[in-house]
């Protein structure tokens, strides 16, 4: 395997196939825990860990698992790692554990992980699978952080718990409530589609120029 494909595997999840903004997968934790930047990062890192470990194991076992029961096997593998993460977070910080609530255990049914196991890890050697999974996981962390930062700044006037605007700031409370999650993610998607549209227009303009000159 050469370095170019490894780099490609890694970058795929971060930009071109970003799980949050491009594929719109794993929405439940994305919207539920992103009320603050700290929560977003911890949720993202927990998912990243489960993703990399389970993709590595799935890839190692890919020749042993019969095709008919593969989904069940993947889910049991994922559930094992999630249980480990669940107990680890509980041991590290009880406050964080309470803030994330049941959503740590719900990582099991996050479609990103099962999707990666099925689409990539089941067909590739362990190294490639883990690199790809790490890229996806980091893309997921970036997506969560993008939401968490906006929602915390607007909804509480703080960033990582540090007050930004001083005492007279009126927090825009709706942003940390459920509707805010939908609105902020919708806003980000609008921004991305506007960007894609503009790039397309520029390209077609350039193409038009070339044909005119010829």
């Amino acid at each position: 395997m050469n370095t170019a494909t490894t780099w490609d595997d890694f970058m795929e999840g971060i930009w071109r196939q970003n799980p949050v903004f491009v594929m719109v997968l794993g929405m439940c934790p994305t919207l539920a825990v992103t009320v603050s930047a700290v929560n977003s990062i911890s949720m993202g890192l927990a998912t990243l860990f489960v993703l990399v470990c389970s993709c590595g194991l799935v890839s190692l076992l890919r020749k042993l698992v019969p095709k008919e029961v593969r989904i069940a096997v993947y889910i049991v593998i994922i559930a094992t790692f999630v249980t480990a993460v669940d107990y680890a977070i509980q041991a590290i910080s009880l406050a964080l554990y309470d803030a994330l609530g049941a959503f740590i255990q719900l990582i099991v049914v996050n479609c990103i992980i099962l999707g990666r196991a099925e689409a990539h890890a089941a067909k590739n050697p362990p190294l490639s699978a883990m690199v790809n999974a790490a890229g996806m996981g980091i893309g997921f962390v970036i997506g969560l952080l993008a939401l968490g930062v906006v929602r915390e700044i607007l909804g509480a006037g703080t960033l990582f718990g540090v007050s930004l605007f001083g005492a007279e700031f009126q927090p825009w409370v709706i942003m940390v409530l459920p509707p805010g999650g939908f609105f902020v993610l919708g806003g980000w998607l609008l921004l991305f589609s506007w960007h894609a549209r503009r790039k397309q227009r520029k390209q077609s303009a350039k193409l038009g120029e070339v044909t005119q000159n010829a």
């Binding site: 539920a32 049991v76 609105f183």
Partner: protein, 192 residues
């Protein structure tokens, strides 16, 4: 804190709606809500799986508690849910082939619906007894169906209206969900 069954039902149905207030089961909510014809059967099937999963999870939790194997809870729940989906699929195929064909691919996908696992996890975390668990799962399922049907109706109407090109697709659905969620906040405090 002891809630009556009715309070739990209303809470799960409206005030703490699974989709619009607790963000559970968003994938089918965004994926299947394009048409009213598929949205309703999907909601009913999910409700049924939730009920079965909740019953199994209740029994299983007692067994695990008795054997002191609580750390196996998550793994056994997910296996139970996967097998109850399989069971529902087999029963439907035998007794109502029409409905089975209508639901098609959505049926096996219920396994990865976080609302189903959510019911099992929340009823364990809140230590609900048998009656409370059953009402919680039925209320949650009804709330899921309600949200799905509302969303599908609005989206069917929107197909006829003039929407800016930029907002087409997922961005529009999310904005809609946000507005629906905003209106469901009006139910806050109803369940007491």
């Amino acid at each position: 804190m002891h809630e009556t069954a009715f309070q739990i039902f209303i809470n799960a149905l409206l005030a703490n709606n699974f989709v619009l207030a607790m963000f559970l089961g968003l994938c089918p909510f965004l994926g299947v809500s394009g048409k009213l014809d598929t949205a309703f059967p999907m909601g009913v099937a999910t409700t049924f799986v939730m009920l079965v999963a909740s019953l199994c999870a209740y029994g299983l939790n007692m067994l695990l508690g008795y054997l002191h194997l609580e750390f196996l809870r998550l793994i056994s729940y997910i296996v139970i849910i996967a097998s109850s989906v399989q069971l529902v699929e087999m029963v439907l195929k035998k007794y109502s082939p029409t409905l089975f064909r209508a639901l098609g691919i959505y049926l096996p996908l219920i396994t990865t619906n976080c609302a189903v696992l959510g019911v099992a996890l929340f009823q364990t975390a809140r230590e609900y007894d048998f009656v409370q668990s059953v009402t919680f799962s039925v209320g949650g399922g009804a709330g899921f169906t309600l949200a799905l049907v509302l969303m599908a109706s609005v989206r069917e109407r929107l197909q006829l209206s003039n929407i800016p090109d930029l907002a087409q697709g997922t961005a529009l659905s999310l904005m809609l969900a946000g507005i629906l969620s905003l209106s469901f906040m009006g139910f806050a405090g109803l369940g007491g």
